[in-house]
Amino acid sequence: MTDRPTVWEEMPKINRDLLSPLQTTTWTYYLWVGVLSCFVAAGAGAWTYQIQTGIGQTDLHHPIFWGSYIASFVFWIGVSHSGTFISGVLRLTNAEWRRPVTRMAELMTVVALLVTTLFVFYHLGRVWRFYYLIPYPNQRELWPNFRSPLMWDATAIFTYATASTIYIYLPLIPDFALARDRIQGWRKTVYGWLAIGWHGSQAQWRTLEMAIRIITPLIVMVMISVHSIVGFDFSMALVPAWHSTIFAPYFVVGAVHSGLGMVVIGLYTLRRVYRLHEYVRTEHFEKLGKLLLVTTLLLAYMYFAEQLTVWYGQVPDHMAVQNSLLYGAYAVPFWFMVSCIYIIPLVTLVWPRFRQWPVGLMMIGLIINLGMYIERMLIIVPPLARPRLSFQWDEYFPSLIEFAILVGTLALALLLYSLAVKFVPVISIWEEKLGKKHAQEH
């Protein structure tokens, strides 16, 4: 009981530490934003050029109608699962260590979802007619086709984007109120609106906790459905090696795998840049490392089940795809991918000492995400490149325009995240305080 005052004495320090990215900005930040903006501008230029001249600026061709844009779409949706999985599942299971991780993961979800939507537009042959996908009333009574998995996808993503915006906003309200009280100038007004009259009464806390308790299980279910539907985009098709029942759960686990990797990268970077070592401790990296080990094993198990079934069946249509992966045209990226997402994480993360090494974990996060990006390409391209009529077999490699757009979009994601860091506290301040209080009480 004697050290109760020390916890309360810590509160101003927590406020100061966690609000400081909002209040002070260094020249390196401006430089970083400037560089990112240049990349974004280059990507925007590449996209404009593609719209003006035609989607043929990609390397896509008959019969490979989908390529890097759809792969990136799947990849970024996967990244968006980081926030929901980490914060949703950990909130549900009352894992105390989640507190400094949730907010930065949720921010990733929102940014990744915005970026994901862009890839739909990059991909369209006639992007200026995108509104045909929206069910708007029109004189000809033409509606979108809800039998198409793409419409399920659009619906799911819209739901997910809405839900995850609410999900990140709810726990932000007390922090917005804090920012409103501590920050001067025009931002005070904005935070004031966003805090919607929060003054920290008992009734408000009860309502907030109830709201979070309701939305958390809902968003976890939406998350699972969203990536299942992304898997359905492929598994509903007749294409050999796509038409598989394991795709939906496999995609969900794959998304969580790369999402966790992304969270580790974000956690490491933010901790370094904003010196959050007191809040983001080795313990957090260790826990994330364990989770990554679980997803590695789970994903490897599913991948093995899928590939073994195909191999044992020896159906020629499917074998054409599998052979091209195992020792054919796509063998190099395939084995590189297998090392990146299964072998390297497995042999490193099993060591307890490794899991306590933040730099190592960050590198594993990078390797996993590189591997998962290639994995998405390999899910999409080889099956399309090996249609049943072997006369049509072909290969594909992204063009320069595609690379420019992909890099520009990555820069946009980083830029949005960097800007968000200046606007919302990257660690949920009130939850951190609550954690301190709990720790003392127990």
Binding site: T53, G54, I55, G56, D59, L60, H61, H62, P63, F65, W66, H123, L124, G125, R126, V127, R129, F130, Y132, L133, E141, L142, W143, P144, N145, R147, S148, P149, L150, M151, A154, D233, M236, A237, L238, V239, L384, P387, R388, L389, S390, F391, Q392, D394
Partner: protein
């Protein structure tokens, strides 16, 4: 609001269409000359791709002759397989289109509505026959080829999917001629460009609902099969096996 009685009548007329179009490809007769491919290009305003685009795999062909080699040297045989849109009764391309650009006409044709297509290309992936062709760029014709465009066929812009229509413009004018005389279309009256130009008569087109038509007879042949029948797409194109096999 399809309350307009005339429009409703018009629709029910087409809905109760007496025709079901069918093509028969006699593989024993195909010599792989590709006259059908040329005729199709001329009839249907298919964009000129040129050498470079063709090498990139972007040449558009609504009908193509696939060439497979069989046997070992020196006993090698070239086998030709003309492939066009199979106008499947259960077409995999139709349900996946998010905007209903790919739909089924009452006459069994698998139609593509160019104006509705936004180019998501899902239909192209889901067609097991790889029959669907995409316009990666806006079309162009070198002079004086632009002068020979068929006025009955719309020119497709960049970013839309297209494919064999069974020369729907010819079907339509044949039906109109028959309608004026108050009779059914006679067998052989409608010939798509590929059928018309085939020097060996390997391609036969007609009405499946007419029990006396040539396609109805040939369909029953013991040589008859459908491409990838096991997929259950129920194509409207019947192939006849080679006799030498």
């Amino acid at each position: 609001m399809s309350q307009d009685p005339q429009a409703t009548e018009e629709y029910s007329k087409t809905a109760a269409s007496p025709y079901k179009w069918e093509m028969v490809v006699d593989l024993d007769r195909c010599s792989g000359c590709e006259a059908c491919v040329v005729a199709c290009h001329a009839e249907n305003n298919i964009r000129i791709s040129g050498e470079e685009e063709a090498a990139e795999g972007r040449a558009i062909n609504w009908i193509r002759i696939e060439r497979y080699w069989e046997g070992d040297y020196p006993n090698v045989k070239a086998k030709f397989l003309p492939v066009m849109c199979q106008h499947c009764d259960d077409a995999p391309c139709e349900p996946v289109c998010p905007v209903y650009a790919s739909y089924h006409t009452p006459e069994g044709l698998n139609a593509q509505v160019y104006n509705r297509c936004i180019g998501v290309r899902y239909c192209g992936n889901n067609c097991p026959y790889v029959a669907r062709q995409f316009n990666w760029f806006d079309p162009h014709w070198d002079e004086p080829l632009a002068e020979q465009l068929n006025p009955d066929v719309s020119v497709r812009s960049g970013g839309v999917m297209e494919k064999c229509t069974f020369c729907v413009q010819r079907i339509r004018s044949g039906k109109e001629a028959a309608h004026k005389e108050g009779r059914r279309v006679r067998d052989g009256e409608i010939t798509p460009a590929c059928v018309q130009s085939c020097p060996t008569s390997a391609l036969i087109f007609g009405d499946r609902n007419d029990p006396d038509s040539r396609v109805s007879h040939l369909k029953k042949s013991r040589r008859g099969f459908h491409l990838m029948e096991s997929l259950g797409t129920h194509p409207a194109v019947t192939y006849l096996r080679r006799l030498s096999e």
